[in-house]
């Protein structure tokens, strides 16, 4: 009977959960350890942290394990956990310009003070399946281990590429002390959103959504022709202020990716100078996340348009639809029973069919 099939009751949920557990971990296979995921599925962990809006490689790895590798589900688990954490304090502003670099490139200038650091990247590799990984031996090459995050250890952090453009007047000056940033997880915000709120929404957006929208703006539905002024991956110190102590105390480092992207600004600025400056799009994410930060910077730049002409320039269109957790939830909810509404739909459609079947002269 159809009735039983759609309303299984509590027993059905319990059995389904047990079955899920059986599928997650087939008998006879060694359990994958959270530490293995954390250390070897590095980029999946970093993406889960970015979309989950929570910096914790271990918990992100746990979420990936529990979700059987479903990225959106893993980010969702982290977000739900994040909801239960008290807000202890806000850190002083982080200064990404001072990060301990692992990687730093500029597509704008060949030579930059401080140099380009290629770092770990797949950009210039050939995408050939490496069959030797099918049965990988334990790594014994000790010479590789000290390379992580030590690239510029000790050296003064180089200035950002954008600083030089700003000095020449090609980029508008940074505003001085700006308003404290909005937190979209703590404040109800309305459209139009302040830039800080947009950046936060972008930073935790679903990568596929960011990619599709950013791609649309560079490909045909929009007009962002971006130049990556600078892309940095590195470790950033996080500090807190402790009552009684004058200087903030460093409590640890987080790995982050930052992108500054420049693009021509053809609209009149406040002084009426048309097209004489670049504008900057900004991207930032927890972990090593180059693709998503470039997309974020493109969308940040696109949404600075005074009047939106393309979907990616329209902040309501972009912000309302990029959150993976919101979008997946609503998409999945169509699996819930809808028989009351469907009955109502049937009622209207049958009424329409009756009206259509009635000869015209008989109609009132």
């Amino acid at each position: 009977m159809g009735y039983v099939a759609v309303r299984g009751g509590e027993d059905a949920i319990r059995h389904s959960e047990r079955l899920l557990e059986a599928f997650r971990r087939r008998e006879g296979h060694p359990g994958i350890q959270v530490a293995q995921i954390r250390e070897q599925m590095r980029l999946a962990v970093d993406r889960a942290m970015a979309e989950g809006s929570l910096y914790s490689p271990t918990l992100a790895a746990l979420a990936l394990k529990q979700a059987e590798g479903d990225m959106v589900e893993a980010a969702f688990l982290l977000r739900a956990y994040r909801s239960t954490l008290p807000r202890v304090q806000t850190t002083p502003t982080l200064r990404p310009a001072a990060m301990r670099l692992v990687r730093r490139i500029s597509a704008a200038f060949k030579d930059i003070p401080g140099g380009q650091i290629l770092g770990p990247t797949r950009d210039y590799t050939q995408r050939l399946l490496d069959f030797s990984l099918l049965d990988e031996e334990e790594r014994t090459d000790a010479s590789l281990s000290p390379m992580s995050g030590e690239a510029t250890n000790g050296a003064a952090p180089p200035e950002r590429v954008s600083t030089y453009l700003r000095r020449e007047g090609l980029l508008p000056d940074l505003p001085g002390d700006v308003e404290p940033p909005v937190d979209i997880t703590r404040d109800a915000v309305a459209f139009p959103m302040p830039r800080s709120a947009r950046l936060q929404a972008l930073a935790r957006g679903e990568e596929g959504a960011l990619l599709a929208l950013a791609y649309s703006s560079m490909r045909g539905f929009g007009n962002v022709h971006p130049t990556v002024a600078e892309l940095r991956v590195g470790y950033l110190a996080v500090q807190v202020t402790i009552p009684g102590l004058e200087t903030p105390v460093t409590i640890g480092e987080i790995l982050v990716t930052e992108v500054e992207l420049i693009s021509r600004w053809d609209a009149d600025d406040a002084e009426g100078n048309a097209g004489t400056q670049f504008r900057l799009g900004y991207g930032f994410a927890f972990g090593h996340n180059e693709r998503r930060t470039i997309c974020m910077a493109i969308l940040d730049r696109a949404m600075q348009a005074a009047a939106p002409h393309a979907p990616a320039e329209d902040q309501e269109f972009v912000i309302q639809h990029i959150d993976g957790i919101e979008a997946q939830g609503f998409t999945n909810h169509w699996k819930l029973p809808h028989y009351v509404d469907f009955q109502s739909e049937l009622d209207r459609l049958r009424a329409k069919r009756r009206a259509a079947a009635t000869p015209a002269e008989a109609k009132p």
Binding site: E10, F76, F330, L336, P337, Y339, V340, D341, R348
Partner: protein
């Protein structure tokens, strides 16, 4: 480690309560609130759950229904969530509950002044079908500029001879704000009008709450010559309790496609099986509560 009573921390619950108080003070007005992520997915009742989180006290008795049914898996899952995080008593008896969380139905049994019905709302914005932009719909509400909604209904009549909106049928609250009653069938719209209980609506993904306080006028949109109409179940009855005045689900019972009908409100169906004379009590089987544009 443990979670707070009813999952959300006290500060977050206070945020929701402040928004709910504002919503009650402005019947039908959509109040923005900060929606927290829950361990249950957006689109599965997170607005209703956060509202219930904010309302629950230790002595509350909770009923959760989905499509009218107590035994639907989603309703059970939400009830399980509250039983686990708040340890409160749950029930399937409508009269016994102090808070009822619902998806897509208003119970057949009239609710009392000491009961609260919490709706899970997917689309809080009744104007969304005529206007996709939030900035524009906010303006339309501010100016009570609802002409486009009436035009949309009128165009429906011109094209189809009928208003073809099936569920989530818009209604004017207290003569001021246009409200989406969540995807309840039209059958349930009249129950919102001059009720004794408080109706609270929570939309988690869209981050809005709104309310219909007790004894408030709620008029479903319509025209003098094309009044608002509820679904017709003429000639049909519940195959279990025999009711002819309740909202019926249609079920396909065999391979030949034969249909039967059953009450969508499972708790009320049970009561009717025990006592066929139990009244629904909403007192408006006639299409009362109809806003007629021509009168304005």
């Amino acid at each position: 480690m443990s979670y707070s009573f009813a999952f959300l921390d006290e500060q977050s619950k206070r945020c929701v309560r402040r928004a709910l108080l504002k919503a009650v003070a402005l019947p039908g007005y959509q109040v923005p609130f900060v929606s927290r992520e829950l361990p249950i997915s957006y689109g599965w009742g997170t607005g209703g759950i956060q509202t219930t989180c904010a309302l629950l006290g230790k002595s509350d008795v909770l009923k959760v229904i989905d499509q009218g049914a107590d035994d639907s898996v989603n309703a059970l899952n939400i009830k399980r969530f509250f039983a686990k995080t708040a340890g409160i008593r749950t029930t399937t008896l409508t009269a016994e509950a102090s808070i009822i969380q619902t998806r897509h139905r208003i119970p057949e049994e009239r609710l009392r002044a000491d009961q609260i019905l919490v709706f899970q709302v997917p689309y809080p914005e009744p104007l969304r079908r005529v206007e996709p932009r939030e900035t524009e719909t906010r303006r339309m509400h501010a100016e009570a500029d609802y002409g486009r909604m009436y035009v949309a209904l009128y165009e429906d009549i011109v094209r189809h001879g009928e208003i073809t909106l099936p569920w989530q049928y818009p209604a004017l609250v207290n003569g001021r704000y246009l409200l989406s009653p969540s995807p309840i069938p039209r059958f349930d719209n009249p129950k919102l009008h001059q009720a004794d209980c408080l109706f609270l609506f929570g939309a988690g993904r869209e981050k809005r709450v709104y309310a219909v306080p007790p004894h408030t006028d709620v008029h479903s949109l319509g025209f003098e010559d094309h009044p608002f109409r509820v679904e017709s179940f003429a000639g049909r009855r519940c195959s279990r309790c025999g009711s002819t005045d309740t909202y019926l689900d249609e079920v396909i019972v065999d391979a030949d496609g034969r249909r039967q009908h059953q009450c969508s409100d499972t708790a009320f169906c049970l009561r009717r099986r025990q006592d066929p004379a139990v009244p629904r009590g909403w007192g408006h089987d006639h299409p009362a509560g109809v806003a007629v544009e021509a009168r304005r």
